[in-house]
Every structure is written in C-alpha cells, then in structure tokens.
Amino acid sequence: MQRTIVIINRELSSYFATPLAYVFIVIFLVLAGVLTFFVGNFFERGQADLQSFFTFHPWLYLVLIPALSMRLWAEERKSGTIELFLTLPIRLGEAVLGKFLAAWIFAGVALMLTFPFWLTVNFLGDPDNGVIFASYLGSWLMAGSILAIGAAVSAATKNQVIAFIVTAALVFVLTVAGTSTVIGIFRGWAPEGLINAVVGASIFGHFTAITRGVIDLRDVVYFVSLMVAFLAANAILVDLKKAD
C-alpha cells in the first residue's frame, strides 16, 4: 500500500509537471459548460436539476478519458523507463493499481471542479441533491471504467495515438450499445434476452440508471467489475509486452 501511494504521488505530480493536467481540466470544464448550456438547454428546460449536465458525460468521456489513459503505459514503454520502473522492488499489481488510481483521482479532481454547476442549480432552485450526488458518483465510476479500459489498451502498444483511437473505439461500442438507436435496430427481430444483454453490457445504460437517482447495486457492480477485469488484463498485457 505504501509503495502504491508513492507511485500515485509520482504519477499525479507528473500530470502537473506538464501542461497535460491544465489543458485537460480547462477543456473538460469548457466542453461540459458548452454542452450543458447550449446543447442541453439548461435554462430553457426550467428545471432545477443537472440532467442536462450529466447526460453528456458519456460522450465527453469518450473523447477525453482516452487522452488521459493513452500515456499510462505506452509512454513508459516508448521511453524505456518501464525497465527502471518494473525492476524497482514493487509488485506488478502495485504498479498497475498506482498508475490507475492516480489517473482516476485526477479525473475525480476534474469532475469536482464542476461544482459551480451544482451551486448554480441550488441557487436557482431546489434540486434533489441526492440525485446529483448519485450522478456524480456514477460519473466517477464511469470515468474509472473507461480509464481501466484505456490503461489496458495503453499497455498493449508503444504508440499513444493508437492507444487513444483503440480505447475510444472500444468505449464507443460499449457506450452506444445502450442508446435508443441501437436498441431500435435490435427491437422487432431480436429476442428480448439479447436486447437485455446488449443494454446490460452498455456503459450508457448503467450510467443513465444511476443518474435517475437510484444507486442500484447492479450498476455499481457493473462498473467495478469492468475496472477489475480491465486492470487484470492491464497487468497481463504489461507482463507480456514490456520487453518488446
């Protein structure tokens, strides 16, 4: 645990040693604002909630989170520091977890910086803060799942651009699976079980369920198992590919 914390610290400080952290946070906040107010019609809806804010998170993350995860392992492999890193007295699990947690904490910080939205709705009306809290939690869990996918992909390549594109494509498939368009394609000919399976595998579906204000254990389990599965894949991929 001690060593995992040291790794988290190093990773976090490296985000802020480069412009990466600032660029990411600024773009995240600006995009979130634009989507909420202009595309989501925050004011026109006349409702004191953050539905129009959270509804875009899956799409925002689809683009931004792979940018955060692409460097996690690809950069280490490209620069050769992975040989230094993995010959230090640490377990592979600590290395994988440390890198992932640092990125997840960073995503959490970016998410927390959207607090003015929360303040705004509270100032304008009387929102259900329980729903908003649940949505924030769901959003963070979703970010973690996408980060875990991205970290695993990043371990499989030395090329950050490839890591970005592959992660975005995977996440896109996992996200759209739960949208009404895709469900519409299946409806009418596919058995109910298949439709449920497709929706059940979808990031979008589970996230929307949480934003309705109910933290269902199944949704939490879904995101946590995505993280666990892809972090395990991450460790295996690092071990297989580190010397290439």
Partner: protein, 324 residues
C-alpha cells in the same frame, strides 16, 4: 551473493541466452563483454527480474528472483541500458521517488540523496528537469539511482557510455571504491575498461559464455602473449629475420606493419626477451626498441567472438600500430 544458474531465454525460434551460469561473490567486479546482440542485456534483464527466463533462475543474496522478486529486487541496484529516467521530473524529484519506493522517508531519504548526489557529482543539476540534462549527466543520474540504497548487488549496463574521458575515469573510480563491499556486474564494449576495473571478465557471444577468467588470464590467450616487438634501425633486413627465426624459442617472425622491426612469437608460453636481446647484442644491431607484450584483450575478444569459418578482416594477424 549473486548466483546465476542455467539461464535460458528464447524469443520465438531465437535463443538469445543459452544456458548461462556463473556466480559473483562480494568484492568482485565482473566485466560482461560481448558483441552487440550477444545476450548481455537480456541476461541482465533476467537477473534484475525485468524479463522472465525461459528456464533457469538467478539467486540474489539468497532470494530467488522468480520466487521472491520483491525481496531480490531490494538487494539490486540496476542501471538499465540507456539510463532511462522520467524526463519531466527534476533530478531531485526523481531521486526522491526512487528513495521512497525503496522505503526511505523524510530526513533519511534526504541524507541518502545528498550523499549520493555528492558522490556521483550531480549536485549542480538537482533542480533541472532530466530531459534538459546532457547525456553524461543523465547517465550519472541513472547510476545515482542505482546506488541510492547501497545495494549488495550492482548491475550496470554500460555505465560509462556517453561520458567524456574525465567522467569515465571518475566513474571507474567510484565503481572501484565500492567494489570491496559489493558484487558488481558491468557490461561494456570498452576493453580498456575491463582491464582498468574488472577483477574478472566473461565473454559472451550468441548467448553462450565463451570465456571466463581474470582480464590477465584472458589476455594470456592472445597470440601476442609474451611476444616481443623488436625495433631495429632501418627496419632490419632479411638476414636479421632469418637469424631471429633460427632461435629455438622463437616460433615465428613477422615484420611489423610499420616496417620498423619484427614481431617475434614464442614457442609455447616461455619468455624470449633475454634470448632476443642477447642475439641483437651479438650481431651488433642498432636496437630502437624492445617490448614484451602481455597479451591483447581485443585480439582475444575478436578471436573468440568471430564465428568459426568466418574470417573477418578484423581477425587478420596484423598487429596494431601502437604497442603498450
């Protein structure tokens, strides 16, 4: 201290390291020599736990690198090939990270970092990002990182690569000063380095150990071992050559490549310099120089590492111009 037994590494059909075994006790500086692609770095990567061997293992201070990797890695200081370090960190941040991972905290960590920075002479670049450092400084930061925890086993992949002659000398001094209390392996292309600091040398090519001994023992395998270089005014003449060849202890006589005298190769290993000197005096030759060669590591290196049947120009018996 460090025991390597039957290490094998295969990459698909390619056998990069083929049944390598050796042990390094405390106090030994082992020079790991070999052409590029011989398997030096791969062997080092397996000893340090970066690569899993196809078979065989390495025992570091009683800890098997496969069974107890973390305990084994604690005992190792490792400078990987090319001295990788996180480019966006400053030297100080980087060393703090390494110190913390190795379990040093607070004042303890600061003390160790201060001591090492002083020793390796990097105190003036502590606040600089590593990406802005020169190649020599980067290499030294890599060595500092490897030495930080005063490891029992030190493994340095080309520690003097990229250093200027003064820095090389300094680095060799540092390695030598530490050698009494550690088991050290260094890989290098520089044969002079082996002669300068190594108490033992292993020559490896195509994944196999081809020679193992002290640098002097290896040099003795050279055909120049105990050969005499006799410089004669005017370069001598054919009669001088035939007189020299008639000495019973002399196996062969060759003109030096500069044409200023002869190389005399002994029969067997016995020294021939007294006979040659006496002969020169008896014939009243004007001798401009006479040197006994102890052997040449580079000559041995070429002979050993050139695959049989391949006669590269480097393996031709032309004695080098300069004689030590």
């Amino acid at each position: 201290m460090l025991e390597i037994s039957h290490l094998v590494k295969q990459f698909g059909p390619l056998v990069a390291v083929d049944d390598v075994s050796f042990a390094v006790p405390v106090g030994e500086v082992l020079g790991f020599l070999g052409p590029n692609g011989a398997g030096k770095s791969t062997t080092m990567k397996m000893i340090t736990g970066f690569l899993a061997p196809t078979s065989g293992t390495a025992i570091i201070c009683g800890h098997d690198i496969l069974a107890q990797p973390v305990a084994a890695k604690r005992q190792i200081g490792y400078l990987p090939e090319g001295a990788p370090a996180y480019p966006d960190m400053t030297t100080a941040e980087f060393l703090v990270f390494i110190a913390q991972i190795r379990g040093y905290r607070g004042a303890d960590a600061r003390k160790r970092i201060g001591y090492i920075a002083e020793l390796i002479n990097i105190t003036d670049v502590m606040r600089q990002p590593i990406e802005t450092l020169s190649k020599g400084y980067r290499r030294r930061v890599g060595v500092a990182q490897a030495l930080l925890h005063d490891p029992a086993v030190l493994i340095l992949d080309e520690p003097t690569d990229g250093l200027d002659p003064n820095q090389k000398h300094e680095m060799r001094g540092i390695i030598e000063a530490m050698s009494a209390s550690k088991a050290i392996i260094i890989s290098t292309h520089l044969l002079e380095e082996v002669e300068a600091i190594c108490s033992r040398a292993i020559i490896i090519a195509r994944g196999r150990i081809l020679a193992d001994g002290t640098p002097a023992e290896l040099a003795a395998r050279s055909r120049f071992h105990n050969a005499v270089r006799l410089g004669l005014a005017g370069g001598g003449n054919d009669s001088a050559a035939s007189v020299l060849a008639s000495l019973p202890a002399v196996a062969s006589v060759e003109a030096t490549s500069e044409g200023d005298g002869y190389w005399l190769f002994p029969r067997g290993d016995q020294p021939i310099v007294t006979e040659v000197a006496a002969l020169a005096q008896a014939h009243r030759w004007t001798v401009t120089g006479i040197q006994v060669e102890r052997g040449r590591l580079d000559d041995v290196f070429r002979t050993i590492t050139t695959p049989p049947g391949m006669t590269s120009p480097a393996a031709m018996p032309t004695p080098p111009a300069e004689v030590a």
